[in-house]
């Protein structure tokens, strides 16, 4: 009997030891940099579904990204669909007629120059010697076909460009607009302006033939892309043979993939993880961008139609601490839609400052008082509750939601957070009071874009139904202003108008960071937020 008991105990101890050893070995299994084959093996395992595995001597790059997914309205790389143009340009597939320098000034790209013949007419001279991956040469006719399709199928582009007609003549394209569009060249440099070959068309999976250093061979929504080198690229020779772009929406998974060597580069790592990549062999490229995190007020909501309530909310959001602590300093507190680096940026406008006591007073003035002592204010027996809609694919937004929930509670407002990937359906249904989202407010370097897409009566994404006569009048002036200084001045007034109305509450501007692994060069964050994979990208 005793012997049986002894066997049992020995068995239990051995089993425990084996499990512990297994656990420690599994957790401690970090790939050694002295054994590159181990890392390659892992990557090949990770890509066992890809038909084209790396052959000897081939340069393969693995890139992790959080944004290539339907949730971000980027289901494929067709620039004429939603925000897919961002994926098209970000991964080096498509190029626009002009591009932005590091200081967000326009530079030639597929076009060499433009001329503003009169208020409504522009001529654009295209570069010689550029071919699409389909083999077709880039000429004015190809660009015309592309832009014709764009304005036919893309509401935002149609509203921005206001193209009346186009004439193609060799390498010269003449564009006639319905009315003056001073920012036409900026709009043409938006990712939706990637020039694609319409003769080759768009495949069922949303793939296109364009002019960038890489072309997609496999497009899988929410999963990733396989890119191969464009052998006939016009502007140098891309260094990498194959790039696997992997959509990894979970930041922690991406962190561990980067640490284990499964990824060579990553965008969208959690802020808490960035400190893990500060030292060799990793490098971090960071840059201030105009991506803003902001709340849109729903004017359909009866509670928020009260100016005092909107202002009280704006004054109860602790932007400084949100940016410094929760974003780990990877951004700057926002005043208006544009960062201070722009001439029409934060330094030129004012907004309600963080002042909870003043916010409480505003609520009291509006008749909201805590009558039952539960810490929340009421009016006519109804508790002041705000439905805060947001989504998880931008890691900052859930943090902002929880931070706002706490700071608004201090002034007696109950915030119910709805953090869902399904946010666009909720936006459409109107089942929200404040919609917190992230957006690059000046992707084209021009301020008009934000207002025309978000704040005007005919804006395509004026989710909250914001209306201001003053803003409409300012936009009328902006739409015909060609002088850069005048545009900046108008932009400042327009931003101030929406801030005075508290129709939008801006929390923070993002500092974008891309992490590169060992031996990676040429992966640099750009202020526009959408140039990532270029012909310069290399891995040694």
């Amino acid at each position: 009997m005793e012997r049986k008991c002894l066997w049992k105990k020995t068995g239990v101890i051995l089993l425990t030891l084996t499990m512990t050893a297994g656990l420690l070995t599994g957790c401690g299994g970090k790939s050694s940099s002295s054994d590159p084959s181990a890392s390659t093996e892992k990557k090949e395992q990770a890509n066992d579904n890809d038909a084209s595995s790396a052959s000897e001597g081939e340069k393969v790059f693995y890139y992790g990204d959080t944004t290539f997914n339907a949730e971000n309205d980027e289901p494929d790389v067709n620039p004429h669909y939603g925000y897919s143009g961002w994926a098209c340009i970000r991964y080096g597939i498509g190029e626009t007629l002009f591009k932005y320098s590091d200081s967000m000034e326009l530079e030639p790209w597929l076009a060499t120059e433009y001329e503003n013949v009169d208020e409504n007419t522009w001529t654009i001279t295209l570069r010689d010697g550029v071919t699409f991956t389909s083999g077709r040469a880039l000429d004015a006719e190809a660009v015309k076909e592309c832009l014709d399709d764009l304005v036919n199928v893309h509401e935002r582009a149609k509203g921005d460009l206001k193209i009346k007609g186009m004439t193609a003549d060799g390498q010269t394209l003449t564009i006639e607009t319905q009315e003056p569009v001073p920012a036409l060249i900026n709009y043409l440099s938006d990712p939706y302006g990637c020039i694609i070959d319409m003769e080759a068309g768009v495949t069922d999976d949303g793939n296109v033939s364009a002019t960038g250093p890489y072309q997609a061979t496999k497009v899988e929504t929410d999963k990733g892309l396989t890119l191969i080198k464009n052998e006939d690229y016009w502007n140098g020779t891309p260094h990498l043979d194959t790039i696997y772009v992997k959509t990894i929406t979970d930041g922690d998974t991406m962190t561990m993939s980067m640490q284990s060597g499964e990824l060579d580069g990553a965008y969208g790592l959690p802020y808490a993880s960035l400190s893990l990549f500060e030292n060799d062999p990793y490098t971090i490229s960071s840059v201030e961008t105009s991506r803003s995190f902001y709340g849109t007020i729903n004017y359909e909501s009866e509670i928020l139609q009260d100016e005092n309530v909107r202002r009280a909310i704006a004054g109860a959001i602790d932007k400084e601490n949100f940016t410094r602590v929760l974003m780990n300093g990877n951004g700057s507190p926002a005043v208006g839609p544009f960062p201070a680096s722009f001439t029409f940026g934060d330094s030129t406008v004012t907004a309600q400052e963080y002042d909870p006591e003043f916010s409480k007073k505003l609520l009291a003035d509006a008749g909201w008082k805590d009558t039952d002592g539960d810490g929340y204010v009421e009016k006519d027996g109804e508790k002041l509750t705000i439905r805060w809609l947001t989504y998880p694919s931008r890691q900052e937004l859930p943090l902002l939601a929880e931070s706002v929930q706490a700071t608004l509670k201090e002034i007696g407002i109950d915030v119910q957070v709805n953090n869902t990937a399904n946010h666009l359906d909720f936006v459409d249904s109107g089942d929200w009071d404040i919609y917190a989202s992230a957006m690059v407010t000046a992707p084209t370097g021009d301020p008009e874009y934000f207002f025309t897409t978000h704040c005007l009566d005919d804006s395509t994404v004026n989710w909250g139904g914001y209306h201001s006569d003053k803003l409409e009048k300012l936009e009328e002036k902006m739409s015909i202003a060609f002088d850069a200084e005048e545009r900046s001045e108008l932009a400042t007034q327009m931003a101030q108008t929406i801030l005075d109305d508290n129709g939008y509450i801006f929390a923070s501007h993002l500092k974008m960071s891309i992490v590169s692994g060992e031996g990676v060069t040429g992966l640099t964050a750009h202020p526009c937020d959408y140039y990532e994979i270029t012909a310069d990208l290399d891995k040694n």
């Binding site: 400190s275 602790d318 929760l326 859930p398 939601a401």
Partner: protein, 286 residues
């Protein structure tokens, strides 16, 4: 009494005494955990929901025994407060599935017939699905929240209790004392309530107590996936989920609720084992 019989009796007394000690010990621990959960609001050293970003991610010590989270909230306070959400929702879940599953099982066992066959096929369908996957699907449809997580888990967990009580009820209903009760004119309700329920309670209670640990894990699992407690509610699963990205940089944020789950589940499992030893001595290890 022969020597062998004396030894057997003595051994039984020792085992009984040992079981009683275990019951006191683990039962005491389980009650202690329940008391902590019940009086959580009075035991927390700080307000578990008050943010103070100037104290974000403080390591254990410095006036915060388990450190602070990214919002500067005291982890110990949140772990204590989280016990209330997690444990009480697990208890609520166990009570619901015991009552619902038990009622269905007794009805089927007592009544029999086509309805019994139908309800058992329904329970077969539920048992055929992988439990957690089904719970995730139900919780997704119900759009999260602790109560919805409890409902989702209740949907998948009741058949086990229905099976146990049905088999017990079927066994008991043919025993002579039930026939005697019928002959003495007792009605169905009276027989079920006075004779069946008390006699099948043992195995059901053992199963229920053993299930508390499992249910704590499953509720925490759903919350970890974002389908349980919504922010800022202190709940162990969602606390672990929120701390995931800081596992390497601020491990206390995820280890505190993790250890709380670990210890609580162990306590309830061992308490469940002991209750089984007491109520169901035949199953006891020899």
């Amino acid at each position: 009494m022969s020597m062998e019989e004396k030894i057997t009796v003595r051994k039984q007394k020792v085992v009984k005494s040992h079981t009683r000690q275990k019951l006191f010990f683990f039962g005491g621990l389980a009650i202690a955990v329940l008391l902590v959960a019940a009086f959580a609001p009075y035991l927390t050293p700080y307000d578990p929901y008050e943010q103070d970003l100037s104290k974000a991610l403080l390591p254990p010590g410095n006036g915060h025994l388990l450190g602070t989270d990214r919002y500067g909230r005291d982890m110990l306070s949140r772990v204590i407060m989280g016990s209330q959400t997690t444990i009480f929702s697990a208890l609520l879940l166990v009570v619901i599935i015991t009552i619902v599953g038990g009622a269905v099982g007794i009805f089927c066992g007592w009544h029999g017939g086509k309805l019994d066959a139908f309800l058992m096929r329904v329970s077969d369908i539920f048992l055929a699905f992988p439990g957690m996957v089904f719970a995730i699907a139900v919780a997704s449809v119900l759009s999260g929240g602790v109560i919805n997580a409890v409902v989702a888990l209740a949907c998948i967990s009741w058949p086990k209790y229905a099976r146990i009580t049905r088999s017990q009820a079927m066994m008991i209903k043919h025993l002579p004392y039930i026939s005697a009760a019928k002959l003495s004119g007792s009605g169905t309700w009276k027989i079920v309530w006075k004779h069946i329920v008390p006699n099948i309670a043992g195995p059901v209670i053992v199963t229920a107590v053993l299930d508390i640990g499992t249910m704590i894990m499953e509720i925490a699992g759903l919350s970890f996936l974002g389908l349980g407690a919504a922010p800022p509610t202190a709940e162990w699963g969602s606390m672990m989920s929120n701390g995931r990205s800081m596992l390497q940089t601020s491990p206390w944020v995820i280890l505190s609720p993790g250890c709380a789950i670990f210890l609580t589940v162990i306590i309830f499992n061992l308490a469940g084992d002991t209750v089984r030893d007491v109520l169901d001595p035949k199953q006891r290890k020899r």
